[in-house]
């Protein structure tokens, strides 16, 4: 553990929506450079957990701290959380379809976000080459001048992952990256995520066990808003409680 200090710590978090307890005393930690899969049946609280970390939802109780020294994420808004280095990919691909792949990536590139700096921003060669390098990583090198709305579903997913990487986050939250992808596209997505996790923390929310198995990483199983089991994929798939609530169905 000392080689991989804790980056994100969620402790004792609960949130209730209209009497429904979506997250129930949830606690877990993510290390600085690790790939983690979060699985669980529908309604287990996976997306709500991401909403809490990224500032979209405020929990009723509990603490969420990030980095070292620990910053209290519950006191920050979405854009401030993004600026300290937490990137989020949504379930449906959300890229800016009326703009080119290049413009999407330039917008995401880690630079000052203040309106004044952005007004006077003019891209230089180093930014262009960064974008080109990223585009090559996500397999969109020859699509840079296309409108991103014209891309295929899989390419949009990669573009969004590319935009996340351009932000250079320390923690990447990825919601169902493989949904709607062909087997080849899934394989490539796995490669991109594993490579990203070499230098940063990547949390992947997924329902698809096959995809999780291919990621080959530590797995956290959520059920009714709390951690049910945690460990390697083989460990959790043999856990009787997990089999009962999730795999047994």
């Amino acid at each position: 553990m000392s080689k991989n200090p804790t980056l994100l710590e969620v402790s004792g978090v609960s949130v209730t929506f209209d009497g429904f307890r979506a997250i129930n005393n949830l606690s877990f930690q993510i290390g600085s450079a690790e790939l983690r899969a979060v699985i669980g049946p529908n309604g287990a609280g996976k997306t709500t957990m991401m909403d809490i970390i990224t500032g979209k939802t405020r929990p009723d109780t509990g603490k969420v701290t990030y980095g070292r020294p620990g910053k209290n994420l519950l006191k920050m808004n979405e854009s401030a959380i993004a600026r300290v280095g937490i990137g989020r990919k949504f379930q449906r691909p959300s890229v800016f379809e009326s703009q080119t792949v290049f413009d999407n990536l330039i917008m995401a590139l880690k630079k000052s976000r203040s309106p004044l700096d952005v007004v006077f921003y003019r891209r230089d060669d180093s930014d262009v080459s960064k974008v080109e390098k990223l585009a090559a990583e996500i397999g969109l090198a020859d699509q840079l001048q296309r409108l991103s709305g014209e891309l295929s579903h899989g390419q949009k997913q990669w573009l969004e992952i590319g935009m996340l990487l351009a932000q250079d986050p320390q923690l990447l939250l990825v919601d169902e990256p493989a949904a709607g992808m062909t087997p080849e596209e899934r394989e490539k997505t796995t490669d991109i995520l594993r490579k990203a996790a070499e230098t940063r923390a990547v949390v992947v929310v997924e329902h698809d066990m096959e995809f999780v198995r291919r990621l080959d990483c530590r797995v956290t199983v959520l059920h009714e808003g709390a951690v049910l089991a945690e460990g390697s994929i083989d460990h959790v798939t043999q856990d009787q409680a997990v089999i009962d609530v999730y795999l047994g169905r």
Partner: protein
Amino acid sequence: MERSFLIRQPSVLIFIGLLALFTIGATILSEGFGLGLISTSFIKTLGKTLCLCLIALAMDLVWGYCGILSLGHFAFFGLGGYMIGMWLMYARTEQIVINSLANAPLPPTSGEIRDAIGSQIFGVVGGSEIPTIWTFAHSFPIQLTLVVLVPGLLALVFGWLAFRSRVTGVYLSILTQAMTLALALYLFQNDSGLRGNNGLSGLQNIPGASNVSQDTISIWFLWASALALGLGYLFAAWLVSGKFGSVIRAIRDDETRVRYLGYSVEAYKLVVFVITAVIAAIAGALYYPQAGIINPAEIAPIASIYLAVWVAIGGRGRLYGAIIGAAFVSLISSWFTSGQVPDVPLGFYTVKWVDWWLVLLGFGFVLVTLYAPKGLGGLFDRLVRRQDA
């Protein structure tokens, strides 16, 4: 290195060229400087139209690019007009008062001059005191600063409150309507200090230029309006050409996603709202000296709705679309409402265009929305593309 935005957007240079040709052409044909083929009142109409194009440009920035459907930008336009109108009216009245008191047996004191100005301007609302908000009305540079400052501050405070609470979509539109309505109702009051429903008048007379004819003054304002529109267009094109343009269009399309990229959406909206309010105010400050009169009815909620209709008809999200829409609709509108269009007698009923013009405009708006959702500017795009292919 990035190429200049002028090279990437050739339409900007085309627009500036056309604007220059138009202005020079109108001057050559005018009564003031040339052949006398265009009447002075029509020169004023053209100059006013250029100002309306400028506020349409602002509307396109805030709505077409940033997705904020503000239905209150005429409040800023009107405030700009009021700020310059205060100086125009005060300084001219001061001249008149000084001239009329010049023959008095004793030279008038400055207090007497002030009282006389007060009763001249405010007699109509039953007062003679000069209200506090007129403190700087004697000074052209200060009132000129206020043209920018007052609407800018109003936009800053209103925008900060609205965007901070994440009011969006139709709720924001309603809030902006409420803002302009509240301002209009306030100004309608006689004790608002701005002459209630009488508004400010005689604004076509420029202090210090009493022996210059209106023929000449109309040309001055035509050129000033054209210059403001040209500069405004260049500024807007520059603003939307780079990353700032990318970010505000992204906010229009999916503001939540922009937030997760680390951009403070509220700050960007506020910047765009304030900038466009200031552009609208400058347009208003040039418009009302040509109109000659401003009263609170000018900033009634309907005016801002018309503005949105112009931009929708012209095509939002493209700067020339806003210009086409504002010029086309406002010129046709002044033609139809001028009484020059022959009425259509149907025997049992006579179609009077002064009344029926609004029906026609509404019908046109529906047609554009249904058959050319990108507006007239969008049709223009299609023609250009067909030539390319």
